[in-house]
């Protein structure tokens, strides 16, 4: 019994490490309230985008209902999603299955 539980631990850790190493997407969803100029400003402030890139993502949100604004390790993705939520943009995380 002790041996079995001892062997089980590395499996859990491996699974957790795989989870952390996965690539996660930060997706901003459209809402009918926030102004286009406000969304552009938030993208510039949070991600350091230039005006052209910020507008491109804002238009994707507005016209397609969503835009992937960042992808990378889960921990940073969570931080970005939290910051976007502080600015009252609807941000969700999605696992990138292609990685």
């Amino acid at each position: 019994m002790p041996l079995m539980s001892g062997t089980a631990v590395p499996e859990i850790e491996t699974s957790r490490e795989t989870e952390l190493e996965s690539i996660w997407k930060v997706v901003v969803l459209n809402d009918p309230v926030n102004l286009m100029s406000y969304v552009v400003l938030v993208f510039k402030k949070v991600f350091g985008f230039n005006d052209t890139r910020a507008r491109k993502h804002m238009l994707e949100v507005h016209e397609q209902g969503r835009s992937v604004v960042w992808s990378g390790p889960r921990e940073r993705a969570e931080t970005y999603a939290y910051t976007l939520q502080e600015w009252h943009l609807t941000a969700i995380l999605e696992k990138d299955d292609h990685h």
Binding site: P32, S37, L41, E86, A91, L93
Partner: protein, 149 residues
């Protein structure tokens, strides 16, 4: 220190601020937006997010309402230090989201996003809510234009 000064019509704005009280009270306890699912299994993380977001939101809203102080009531001028601008912008967004949820429940999303909105077709309460909603949108636009300069 740079200050953004915006002149407003007190006779129009002060009554609108009065109807905001219940909205501001709700924002002390509720996030302006529904929280996204961070991790289905991690209630502790969800609590940390919820509390942190609510704390920021409360601070932001407090900064916003401090702009409409006795000096504003005398002069009709809102003064925003540039260092406060982020907090004020976030609070304006939070208030508009909550106004949309509580005072503009009869107005479809398409009307809020479109330009062909029939303001005259609204009931009186909806019209007042819409006036607050538009006033705060205008304030956001003016602040953003100033920051872009």
């Amino acid at each position: 220190m740079t200050t953004i000064e915006i002149g407003l019509n007190r006779e129009v704005v002060l009554p609108l601020l009065d109807i905001l009280h219940p909205v501001m009270e709700r924002l002390e306890h509720e996030a302006a937006l529904a929280l996204p699912v961070v991790d289905d299994d991690d209630e502790e993380l969800a609590d940390i997010w919820r509390n942190g977001l609510l704390h920021t939101q409360t601070d932001d809203c407090s900064t916003l309402m401090s702009l409409f102080d006795d000096r504003f009531r005398e002069s009709g001028i809102v003064r925003i230090e540039v260092e406060q601008a982020d907090r004020v912008l976030r609070a304006l967004s939070a208030v508009r989201l909550k106004v949309r949820e509580t005072l503009l429940t009869h107005v479809p999303d398409s009307a809020l996003e479109g330009t062909d909105f029939d303001f005259a077709g609204l009931t009186d309460p909806d019209r007042t809510g819409f006036a607050v909603y538009m006033l705060f949108a205008t304030l956001q636009e003016v602040i953003i234009q100033h920051l872009d300069q």
